[in-house]
């Protein structure tokens, strides 16, 4: 599964979006699609668990979790550092 597919799966389980994650475009605002800040915490934990990463404090902003592309960029920035 690609990173984007994993993110969409996590969103379906934890983000409490009003629509299916498959219908959300990469740059769509997830908060506008119904994700609460409480749900975004669960999204973060689930992504950390699924991808084996840990988001440092500086990435834990509202912007990071605002869109699928934002989450993906944050995950990529973490895996790049490691490589």
């Amino acid at each position: 599964m690609s990173t984007e597919e994993i993110i969409r799966e996590v969103l379906d389980t934890h983000a409490k979006l009003r629509v299916a994650a498959s219908s959300v475009a990469p740059d769509d605002d997830l908060y506008a699609a119904g994700m609460t800040s409480h749900a975004s915490v669960n999204v973060m934990l689930a992504i950390e668990d699924a991808l084996g990463v840990e988001f440092p404090d500086e990435l834990l902003t509202k912007n990071t979790f605002c869109s699928i592309s934002g989450i993906e960029a944050a995950v990529n920035s973490l895996t790049e550092v490691r490589a």
Partner: protein
């Protein structure tokens, strides 16, 4: 220039303090378990402190050092303490000695020359303040400076001299003369190579096992120009007490941060396993973080207060300031024990283990020493005397 060269370029005297502290802490962390298990001096970490110029960094600029402030030294002490408590304590004790010397030279040219060597050669300083037979009161000595012509001999039965056998210089308190009262003390700087240390005790302890705080019969030979000109009474209240208590508190802050970080990782892992519910222990962690913030504030305010009044001898000698520095030691040593115990409570059996990524065993044992090294009860008894003479705050 390669990246490695750029990094190495920074890790020398004069480079960014934070980068040098991080490098030394990295070395300290790698050997911390071995230092603890074997109860041995953290030689690798102290070598890293020496090579990065951090042993001489508190020497004033005009004497060849970097003139680091107490705030900067406290930062380094906390970073080291988070990696290896023993290394942090060695750093704290060393700089308490360096400042006790550099701040009380009066106009002694030979001692100024010696201080230049501390910066230039990155010498390690230890201290012998306690003495068998004085009941633990460091402001009282039995031993005395035996002066014949220019030659000085001194024999002291010291229950502990931390890393004495590893140090280049040992600062020893003693009565000014054979006829002086117990409280009429001077500080004598003894060269390790002209000092005989006969071990009288071992250092096999619950924690802080790397400080190598053996008991020794110390027999030193030196010259009269190694007697620090100012009385120890002034050195003690204006420098030794505030600097050592602040740097110790900084080490305890680092240890507390390390324990809280472990607890935080444990809770986050638990949260990932049961997404949507708050893990057991998370509420306790909130309380620990609040206590950690309290300790951070204590260290920050103590060090900036000292930096602000460091040249104001009246302010440093004031009863209220001494009382604050006593309180700093008692409060922060109590806090580190509370915080580390809280981290153990959160991590449970994983924290109780000696191995594994959530172990808090070593830092828990180390933290038990905080209240006992200069016992809190003794400090409180001293403070109880002080408040009788203190007029207002």
């Amino acid at each position: 220039m390669t990246v490695t060269e750029v990094i190495q370029d920074q890790l020398v005297a004069g480079g960014p303090v934070a980068a040098r502290a991080a490098f030394a802490a990295d070395v300290a962390a790698r050997f911390a378990a071995e230092v603890d298990a074997d109860a041995r001096f953290p030689v690798e970490a102290v070598t890293a402190l020496r090579s990065t110029g951090l042993l001489g960094a508190s020497v004033p600029v005009e004497l060849g050092g970097e003139g680091l402030t107490l705030t900067e030294l406290a930062h380094v002490a906390s970073v080291l303490g988070a990696a290896c408590s023993s290394t942090g304590m060695v750093f704290a004790m060393h700089h308490s000695q360096v400042l006790s010397l550099t701040r009380h030279l009066a106009d002694s040219a030979p001692l100024a020359e010696l201080v230049r060597r501390i910066a230039g050669e990155q010498l390690l300083l230890a201290s012998a303040t306690t003495e068998i037979g004085i009941g633990g009161d460091v402001r009282s000595s039995t031993c005395f400076v035996d002066l014949r012509g220019d030659e000085v001999t001194l024999v002291k039965n010291a229950p502990v001299i931390s890393y004495g056998s590893e140090a280049d210089l040992i600062l020893v308190t003693a009565r000014r003369t054979a006829d002086s009262l117990p409280g009429d003390q001077v500080l004598l700087v003894c060269d390790r190579e002209r000092t005989l240390l006969e071990a009288t005790g071992t250092w096999d302890t619950m924690g802080l096992r790397g400080t190598s705080s053996f008991g020794y019969q110390l027999s030193a030979t030196t010259t009269s120009d190694r007697i620090v000109p100012e009385p120890y009474e002034a050195i003690s209240s204006e420098t030794m007490l505030p600097v050592s208590h602040t740097l110790w508190a900084a080490v305890w802050l680092g240890m507390s941060r390390a324990a809280v970080d472990t607890a935080r990782r444990y809770i986050r892992a638990a949260a990932r396993r049961s997404i949507g519910s708050i893990p057991q222990g998370a509420n306790t962690l909130v309380g620990l973080i609040a206590e950690l913030e309290g300790l951070e504030s204590l260290v920050a305010s103590a060090s900036s207060r000292f930096d602000a009044i460091q040249d104001d001898r009246d302010a440093l000698g004031a009863v209220g300031f001494t009382l604050s520095m006593n309180n700093l030691k008692v409060t922060s040593s109590t806090l580190v024990a509370t915080i580390v115990a809280g981290a153990l409570n959160i991590t449970g059996i994983s924290g109780f283990r000696n191995d594994g990524q959530y172990s808090v065993a070593r830092v828990f044992r180390d933290a038990q020493g905080a209240a006992l090294m200069v016992h809190n009860d003794r400090i409180t008894a001293n403070s109880a005397q002080l408040i009788l003479v203190q007029k207002g705050s």
